[in-house]
């Protein structure tokens, strides 16, 4: 990959200050995303995985600048967007869109589908009403909804159809990047597959680049070119989707993948499960040294004291561990 990245995060950090200075605990800082560096190349799908609270959504929202970032830098299509204001972001916002888990929450229940999909077109483009109409019709077709759906309201649709509407809105302005935050997590398996296929078709047709956030590892493996595994705000492993699943290198990745229940009984016997003890520590007081060390079966004194940095290994793999499992 020698092309320029579509989006580049350099040491992106996001902290939230919570609490109240008048209570016993006072103000506390949540280290939601901690010095993440990641290049998203044109045309690829980067999957972000990790357990809830590890900072996936926060990182996604930082990338699209829905959040101001606390530290680090962000470049989109070569432009430094680190400190751009809302107003300055507006023309760029058309180029980067988000799709959320529950499109229903973001769809005004009193507006018809035609208006919901037309909204981004009307806000950002100067189109005549006929042009808007044609474009809406075309968008519905692209996401697999029929033109008869135009005059219906969001509640008349199933979960899968609503996600199609959410996707139609996201692609309306022909973005180059879509950050999809758990887009299929609320859907039943059979419908999930429809949406995964739709996203793949759209990627090909519209040369889209995706950041795909999900906690379902088999879905992420299916859609992703590369996968970034996050733990307590940081990327602990980065590599091609196939490699990471076949040979995880970070002890956390290994445990995470081994915990996914295998529905294929023929293969279930071969798998060895690594059961982690304890829960994910709080991002308010993350552990010193390697953040994974309290749960890591391989931790040594070095791990307790020195924080491993994400280091490039053979091929395209990077790992943040003092003792990676595969060299």
């Amino acid at each position: 990959m020698t092309a320029a990245p579509l989006l580049e995060a350099r040491n992106v950090t996001k902290q939230f200050v919570i609490g109240n200075r008048f209570t016993a605990q006072g103000l506390r800082t949540v280290h939601a995303v901690d010095a993440v560096s990641l290049k998203i190349m044109p045309g690829e799908t980067v999957g972000l995985v990790g357990e809830s609270g590890c900072g996936k959504s926060t990182l996604g929202r930082c990338m699209t600048r829905l959040y101001d970032i606390t530290g680090g830098e962000l470049y989109f299509e070569g432009v430094d967007i680190t400190t751009k204001t809302l107003r300055q972001m507006r023309p760029l916002r058309q180029r980067m869109q988000m799709v959320f888990q529950d499109p229903y929450a973001s769809l005004n229940p009193r507006r018809r589908i035609r208006d919901l999909i037309a909204e981004p077109l009307r806000v950002h483009l100067r189109l005549s009403e006929t042009e808007v109409r044609d474009r809406v019709r075309q968008l519905l077709d692209v996401v697999g909804l029929s033109p008869d759906h135009m005059d219906r309201f969001p509640h008349e649709f199933s979960g899968g159809q609503r996600q199609r509407i959410g996707i139609a809105r996201a692609i309306a302005l022909e973005p180059s990047l879509i950050v999809a935050d758990e887009p299929v997590s609320a859907l039943d398996v059979s419908v999930q597959a429809q949406i995964v296929n739709l996203l793949a078709d759209l990627q090909e047709r519209l040369s889209l680049t995706y950041v795909f956030i999900a906690h379902d590892l088999s879905v992420v493996r299916q859609v992703s070119t590369r996968i970034a595994v996050m733990y307590l705000g940081s990327i602990v492993e980065l590599g091609s989707a196939n490699d990471i699943f076949a040979k995880p290198s970070h002890p956390y990745t290994q445990a995470l993948i081994s915990a996914v229940p295998q529905p294929d009984l023929k293969k279930a016997g071969e798998r060895k499960r690594i059961v982690l003890t304890g829960d994910v520590p709080s991002p308010i007081n993350p552990p010193q040294g390697c953040r994974f060390h309290p749960r890591c079966p391989f931790a040594t004194d070095k791990c307790r004291e020195e924080r491993p940095v994400l280091t490039e290994m053979a091929g395209t793999r990077s790992v943040a561990c003092h003792y990676p499992l595969t060299a």
Partner: protein
Amino acid sequence: MLEVRDLRISFRTEHGRVRAIDGVSFDVAESEILGVVGESGSGKTISLLAVMGLINDPNAVIEGSIKLRGRELIGLKASEMRKLRGREIAMIFQDPMTAMTPVYTIGWQIAEQIMVHERIGKKAALARAIDLLAEVNIPNPREAIERYPHQLSGGMRQRAVIAMALSCNPALLIADEPTTALDVTVQAQILDLIRKLRRVHKSAIVFITHDMGVIAETADRVMVMYSGRVVERGTKAEILLEPRHPYTKALLDSIPPLEGEKPRRLKSIPGSPPSLLDLPKGCSFGPRCPSRFDKCAEKPPLEGGAHAAACFLKAAP
């Protein structure tokens, strides 16, 4: 030990009568784990709430027969049913807070549960609570009994609820998607725990899930539901390796693989499950079924003995 026969549940609504469960029959044997799988709205929760006697909606009409160790539960007095719950059958839910009160400590809530069913003092009940928390692998159970639910993580809360359900050593435990809201590493711990319960206590367990992977890891036998009916049932191996109903097949096919070559596209089932208000005549999977033929305009019965499928296609795969 549990025999459900021709269970039918409908609700009177403003749009007319809605048939949520349409003739569901199944058995659970002693110390067996029955997995119940199906998409949301297929009737998994409601059929087992009926077993618990927990459908409180005055508009609900429940018909058929539910026998626990020979005793008919449909029509049982509310007070009798209450006695049965906790002592003979217990249920845990996706959200552990369904069974907990935020204002009491974990230890007190478990102890109280024990004291409802047994004549023992508070001290003895608390001691039992500590043992139970240890049994479900909660670290430092002596400290944990002093905690309030919100001070525990989701996984720990679910363990505490399991401890509560175990407090009276029920013969049948119904677990309704107990790991759906949990992360996979925590889910793995809870699944281990459920398997251990069956081993140690010989409890019969009905495990409801929408995840075929979870079925593969827990169940002995499986029942697949679709729009209020059982479309297939059999042993875990029969269902996962030789599915006979087109819905079961399609459901298994639509799961992205965890290893090996990635398919270019996933196989998906077109459309979505039908609305209960507008169920198709005949086979309810018909409108989405790739193998549909003339006969499917009639309602297919669940046939075939132990490995049964409600489908007119008789030929094995």
